[in-house]
């Protein structure tokens, strides 16, 4: 299975994604420059974390006009798998692949920390290898992660099972402020209506080896492999 990883000017999670795919998963990955027009036969596209175009105007607002995004959107329209991580989530929202927007953290602070999440559904391409309700630990590193959408959109996301990850207090933290950015309804990650595009603020690609403090990101990638293997 071939993963295509897009490098935008200002991406910093692209090589983390590459290493997680190649070293932790043992799958093939290709780095794609944002000016490319060819996904080189990639089955799964990853829009990585970082600060594409310096977050000018709004996070992700300029990157969505990068030449390769036309091909990424076509790939998604054909049912191809797309994962937007952190800045990639912001880009996916700006590109209209996912509903809503990611605004400045409520605290106005950049938050870089491992964070407790709850897997809301195992019934997606991306989460079949988790248990529904499972608590996991993934790192976050963002200043603009407050997921926002109108009530109608939020109700639809919840009703259709499109909310995939939520910020949730883990057993150790009890009732500490567990929502790190003020996201509406504690939303950390969603899929589109067709279920082939995932956007999430936490970094699964930075939690694939015990040395990194967590391996809770691995099942996400393994879920995708499982899906394609079937």
């Amino acid at each position: 299975m071939k993963f295509g990883i897009v490098s935008f000017p200002g991406s910093n999670g692209d090589f983390d994604a590459y290493q997680s795919v190649v070293e932790a998963l043992g799958e093939e990955a290709v780095m794609l420059w944002h000016k490319d027009h060819d996904l080189q036969g990639s089955d799964v596209m990853i829009l990585p974390g970082g600060f594409s175009y310096g977050d000018y105007l709004r996070a992700g607002a300029i990157a969505r006009f990068s030449p390769i995004m036309r091909e990424v959107v076509q790939h998604a329209d054909r049912g191809g798998i797309v994962i937007g991580i952190c800045n990639g989530f912001q880009i996916a929202c700006e590109a209209g692949l996912l509903p809503g927007a990611l605004l400045r953290n409520q605290s106005l602070k950049f938050v870089c920390a491992p964070i407790g999440l709850r897997v809301e559904t195992s019934n997606t391409i991306f989460t079949s290898q988790y248990e529904k309700g499972q608590r996991i630990l993934l790192p976050i590193a963002h200043g603009d992660g407050r997921y926002s959408a109108d009530d109608e959109t939020l109700d639809r996301l919840e009703g259709e099972g499109q909310v995939v990850f939520r910020y949730a207090p883990d057993a150790l933290e009890a009732t500490e402020a567990y929502n790190p950015n003020g996201s509406m309804r504690d939303i950390a990650g969603i899929v589109n209506g067709a279920g082939n595009v995932l956007g999430l603020m936490p970094h699964p690609e930075r939690a694939v080896d015990p040395l990194l403090g967590s391996t809770d990101g691995l099942p996400l990638f393994e879920s995708i492999l499982q899906r394609v293997a079937v």
């Binding site: 105007l57 709004r58 607002a61 006009f65 929202c93 700006e94 509903p99 809503g100 927007a101 605004l103 400045r104 953290n105 409520q106 605290s107 106005l108 407050r146 926002s148 959408a149 109108d150 003020g182």
Partner: protein, 85 residues
Amino acid sequence: MSRYRVAVQVVPRRGLLDPQGKAVADALHTLGFGGVSGVHVGRHLVLDLDVSDEETARRQTREMCERLLANPVTEDFEIAEVTAS
């Protein structure tokens, strides 16, 4: 073809949480400006357009706002001023 300078204001949609505006309001209260009941921090953009007439300048600017300069999910925009230059 004439040159028009267009000023656009983009602000967070009212009702959405605006922590930046709130932080500025708190700072103004600290400075003694107790009469400040709300602050909204947005962007002010100035565009120079070479187009045939003012109506075209306004129409194109609206389109730019809808497609790029403002996020329709979370922001409102207003064309504050159009001046021939």
